[in-house]
Symmetry: C2
Subunit: 193 residues, 2 copies
């Protein structure tokens, strides 16, 4: 009854070198949690308290505007981290929602536990900073595409880069992620080639 620890262990092993003792410390610190489809991991207005590692499933971060429209900020699946870093950092209520698109399983590390882990395991701290660095680079790339590509280019790039998301997320959410309307995405997809 693993609760996703092997997924996490594989991930960590691929990204850094840790002793068996350190693995134990990490696994003891992690709180496994299961989420059913549509279940919130974080709801707007709540303070985000956890760094969250996904061992199974698919989640999204989204914001809701005054008109009630949802805007998907990001998707995340197995072997990705998800949280609202702003809320986590400032301890202010989050502007975002995070919920499960599929039944999912995650490992939760609360803020102070994470601090303790990064303080006591330098290799883990390095890995975590490396993840952040890559996240930032990915964000820059997304910004670049958002300001320079047409709707069609954005969609094609998205499908190539994230085939998993393209297959597993509803088209309305993909449209939202790309900043276009679902009708527009439907038309793009159904025009020949």
């Amino acid at each position: 009854m693993s609760a996703g620890f092997e997924v996490f262990r594989d991930y960590v092993t691929r990204h850094t070198q840790l002793s068996e003792v350190d693995f134990g410390t990490l696994e003891a610190a992690a709180k496994p949690k299961k989420l059913r489809k549509h279940q919130y991991l974080l709801q707007e207005g709540d303070v985000c308290r956890y760094h969250c590692f996904i061992t199974k499933g698919l989640l999204r971060t989204y914001a809701v505007d005054e008109k009630g429209n949802e805007h998907v900020i990001r998707f995340a699946m197995e072997n990705w981290w998800i949280s609202d870093r702003e809320s986590l950092l400032t301890e202010q209520p989050s502007k975002f929602n995070i919920d499960a698109i599929e039944d999912s399983e995650v490992l939760l590390f609360d803020k102070s536990t994470m601090q303790m882990l990064t303080d006591s395991i330098p290799a883990f701290a390095k890995m975590v900073t490396g993840v952040l660095d890559k996240s930032f680079i990915t964000s820059q790339t997304r910004i670049h595409e958002a300001i320079s590509s047409t709707a069609e280019e954005k969609y094609n790039t998205f499908v190539q880069r994230y085939p998993g998301f393209a297959l597993r997320a509803p088209q309305s959410m993909i449209a939202s992620y790309l900043g276009i309307k679902p009708e527009t995405l439907s038309r793009l997809r159904n025009k020949k080639h």
Copy 2:
């Protein structure tokens, strides 16, 4: 003959607590550089070797597409860091250009020096990670706005958030940053409200 060291010292003092010795180490590691308007700090195809702290002036990161159009990825001014983190991390040629919009002054910290500094000064390492964290949060916010706002909303938000950029950067670059055409920006600005 300060070369911007007091600006840097002020900045570091505002963000962390460091001994006089550590300040000395940082300042000894920094290479001051002056840039004239239009001068490159980094040119597409070159490998980015430096973390760069701006003590004076205004710079931009931009990409050039197949059609020759420039796309401004970001602006940065006094007390901001700028670099191409992807190129810095991977040591592969950069896809971006960084150049000076005004005559500027920067402090350069090369990759290995930066590594040495963060390894030997934990408080500095924390500050640097904090900067990265905030950069990531800022990127997320920008993505959110890019996918959810109209051109007019993007412009208004930009002016409020970055009055300095709005005043100091040419409108064609601001338009590029927002992902709209200069003509469209001009029309937005000149329609009454």
